[in-house]
Every structure is written in structure tokens, then in C-alpha cells.
Subunit: 260 residues, 2 copies
DNA sequence: CGCAGAATTGATACATCTCAAGCTGGGTGG
DNA sequence: CCACCCAGCTTGAGATGTATCAATTCTGCG
């Protein structure tokens, strides 16, 4: 049902020292509740490229991304695929109350997940409100992000799509510490051109061309294929077609999310 | 903040006789809880075409669609718009814990909403689990539907998009009573060509052309511009690019949803 | 060194958009 | 009751953005 975890098994870790303690589904839990979660939790590690869950498979756990990045993908019979979610640390995977996985979950970098056995987790959701409340909040944020993305997919040009993706990834990176340096925003792309294409509803060739165009126009600076510098973030936003206003758009920075 | 309700004010109605009692956010409430909801609720009616809420406006209520259909739309500065949700009876509007509306909500038919004052509703969510649990379930369904739609927007052809929309509307209609007649599935389109275009990320001309094409190919039969007969539902599904399998796709039939 | 996966770039095809005319049906006022 | 009107819709012809097919060129790694 899921592939063998190949990366070194993560050390069993105390929740109170967990890096995602305050953002994940357990964010609101008190000491007692945390103890209960400790009992039903275990860590799994995956290598970059490994599939965490296959769409349609039975799934007897839910969990949070502790570190690394995973993608959520939906496919059609003829091979076309669309990414429907990008899972970053603290994001939630799995749906309480559902048997099977609805999407493929794939690790794009080395990945560590904190998993909860589903049955006990569901029981806990019934009895204590804190987990359910937090999950609701995260799910609502994720819904906003999905709707934001519908606008990108349905109405934006290829160039705007690329700019939107860069803005989202850039914003998220800066959230997580890397401060807007005087020299501009700097980050690494966690996705291949093909993965970006899957996210944006484009082909990888078009992605490549538009990135080249943005580079030529000075909107971004590339070192190698993955390392990006954005000298003027406002310019990037303008290229994305959004006004600077924080609408539901902030969903992505408010984040902590739900899934599969 | 919202336009005057112009349609005749709906009669104050008892929850226990409410047509959406078992599907809406109140589905799991017991008698006591229902009494509390009764106290904070009021009905609003809107005429077809009226805007229920403007994106960015302060929103001091949340509520359920009782009858009629509304759309949830996101716009860009230059006028491009993308529909991000279709609100049918029992669907939920508004986000607890948020001040402003994230999207425009527009009535596409005459509409009746059951509204709850936000403050008391939020307090109730804190204290009793049934409302929050139901809302979580509805939000998760809505998230699945949104992701399903991302595949449509990102990867499907115009013809497949139209077929997908017809399948969704058709399926929903048949859910709500109208049985798959021997003569095939019959329903009325609740949307103009332009609204369909906004939903599908197309222009209204392309929508029109593809509908004509599906008609010419015998996939659908049109009487007037809105009345549709689908002689062979499986054929329609095939045209939509989906296999018949019920994946997350069933989100739309399992429904009862969240919003704005 | 050379290979393999990832990315770039080019030439061409095609789906969808854009702009522009008409059509249709239901409502309205003379 | 009829003529008109207008929003919604259809259809056409041409422009355009993105996909597709096909070489190369990178880049890291055994």
C-alpha cells in the first residue's frame, strides 16, 4: 500500500520539541492531548521521488509533513496529470472518515512525516474539540488556496502563471525565516520544470520558455536552474496579474493545510 | 454592505420542517442545539441577478442556501473573472473567524438563504461539537470538489470541460429527485453561457460552439437554450474524459458544502 | 570521459480567443 | 395585436498563445 520507507527512520521525537508543533494539526492541543497523540504517532521517512500514497489505495493513517516537500496529484486515464496541492511542513495529509486516498502523494524532496493511526485519531477528534477545530481552520485555508489556484488555472496567461507560482514559493520561503534581503528575495525552486508544468496546467516547454522570458526581462535572476533571486518583489506580483492586495491570496502565507 | 433583499421576505420557518435540515451545517444538531440556532437565524431572499455579498465587504453573518442557486466568483483588476464555486441548496456561505468576504456571491436564480448572526454562531461552534464537525465534513467535501475542478481547468479540452459541467449539473439534479428517466437524464441549465464560461475558464463563444458540437454529435439534446436531455449518461462521462469511477469526483454528489 | 536526466531552444500545428455579424425568443409599449 | 427591442446566444473568419515534435545543450555523477 505504500512503498517501504527507505530513508533512515527518523528518531522518535518529543512533540514539545517538534518544529511544526505550533502550526500543525496539533497546534491547539494541551499537554494531555499531546500525550494521547504521542501514543498513536510514528514517523516515516521517504526519499525524494518516492510515492507516499497511491490514489485509490486504502489509507490507515493520517499525518503531517514535518520536513521536506510533497505534491498532491490527480491523473486522468490517458496520462494527463494535474497537481492539486503542494505540501509543505505542517501541512496535513489524509482525510478522517475516508477509506481510500483520493490523490497520489509524492515526495519531491526527502520527506519526514508524522503519522497517526487513523482509528485512534478519529476517535480523538470525536472526543476533544481542539484537533477538530484546528483541522477545520487548516481545511478552510486550504480551500481558499485551492480557489485562488482555480483563478490561476482558468484565467491567467502562461507568464502570469509562472509569476504566480514564483510569488507563492517566494512568499512561503520568506515566511519561514529567510528574510527579504537587501539584495532581493532569494530561494530555491523545490520543483522540476515538469512538476511546475503539472501545477500550472502547462507543458514543461512553455514553463521553460516563460522562465527564460522573465529572466531576460530582469524580473528574476537565475543561478543554475533552481536558484532564484527576485530583485523587486512588487514587480513579480505585477507580472502575476494580482494586485498587491491581500485577499484570500494570503491563504498561502497563513498556511497550515489539509489534504488528500 | 449587501443589497436590500427585494424578493418577498421568506416566512420565518421552523427548523424541523426545513427542506435542508438533514444536509446543511445543522444536520447533526439535536433539538436543543436547533433551538439555539433558531434564535440567531433569519431568512433573506434575493432576486436572480442580485449580488448577495461583495468581495472584501465586511460580513457579519454566515448562512446556508435554502433554495435557489448562487455563484462564488473571483475577479482580477482587468476584469477577468473565474467562478470558484456553485452554491446549491444546503451549501454554506461565509467563513467563521474571518471578517471580510473573500469572493463575490451572486444569486443566479431567485434565492433564499438561512442566515446566522456571526458572533453567536461562532460562540456556538466553540461550545458544541456538532456544528463544527458537520462544517468540517462539508469543507472537506468542498475541498475535494475544488481539486476536482482544478483538473478540469488545468488539463481538459473545451469539449471535455463542457461535458464535465453538464455531468456535474446532471448528476446533482438527479440526486435531488428527478430520476434517470427511461428517456434519459433531463434537466435545466441554471447558468447562462457566460456564467458557464466563467466556471470553465473559457469564453462564452467557445462554450456556445462546444455545446452546439455536443448537440450535433447526439451527446445531448437541446430544447430551447436551457433544457437539456442526456440520452446516454455514460457517453457524456466518456466525453468528459473521466472514467466512470467514483473518485474524489463523487464530492459533487456527496455534497453539502462550505464557502466564501 | 561519457552517460542520463533535466532544461533550453526552434519550427510548426492547432485549439481557443478575439472581433464582428446575425439570430432568437420573450417582454413591452404603442 | 403587432412591431420593436434587447439580452442571450449562435456562427464566422482571422489572430494568437500554447502545445507538439524535434534537436541540442547543460549539469551532475558513476
Amino acid at each position: 500500500m505504500f512503498q517501504q520507507s527507505v530513508a533512515a527512520p527518523a528518531r522518535h521525537q518529543n512533540c514539545s520539541e517538534c518544529p511544526i508543533r505550533h502550526r500543525a494539526v496539533c497546534a491547539r492541543c494541551d499537554g494531555d492531548e499531546l500525550d494521547r497523540l504521542e501514543e498513536m504517532k510514528y514517523y516515516r521517512s521517504f526519499q525524494a521521488g518516492q510515492t507516499v500514497v497511491w490514489s485509490g489505495d486504502r489509507m490507515d493513517f493520517v499525518g503531517s509533513v514535518v520536513s521536506g516537500i510533497a505534491t498532491l496529484t490527480q491523473g486522468m486515464e490517458d496520462g494527463r496529470t494535474q497537481m492539486v496541492g503542494l505540501l509543505l511542513p505542517s501541512d496535513f495529509v489524509g482525510r478522517p472518515g475516508r477509506q481510500g486516498a483520493a490523490y497520489d502523494v509524492v515526495a519531491t524532496t526527502d520527506l519526514v512525516m508524522c503519522c497517526f493511526r487513523k482509528k485512534p485519531f478519529e476517535e480523538m477528534m470525536e472526543r476533544t474539540p481542539h484537533v477538530a477545530q484546528r483541522l477545520l481552520q487548516m481545511t478552510l485555508d486550504e480551500l481558499d488556496a485551492a480557489r485562488e489556484w482555480m483563478l490561476v488555472l482558468g484565467r491567467k496567461t502562461a507568464r502570469e502563471k509562472i509569476a504566480s507560482l514564483l510569488a507563492i514559493i517566494g512568499r512561503r520561503s520568506s515566511d519561514l525565516g529567510v528574510m527579504p534581503k537587501p539584495g532581493g528575495l532569494v530561494f530555491d525552486l523545490p520543483l522540476t520544470r515538469e512538476a511546475m508544468a503539472d501545477y500550472l496546467g502547462l507543458t514543461l516547454e512553455t514553463v521553460s520558455r516563460q522562465i527564460s522570458a522573465l529572466k531576460k526581462d530582469g524580473v528574476i535572476i537565475l543561478e543554475g536552474k533552481r536558484h532564484v533571486t527576485v530583485p523587486d518583489f512588487a514587480r513579480l506580483i505585477a507580472e502575476s496579474g494580482d494586485d498587491g492586495t491581500v485577499g484570500a491570496g494570503a491563504a498561502w502565507s497563513r498556511r497550515g493545510a489539509t489534504t488528500s
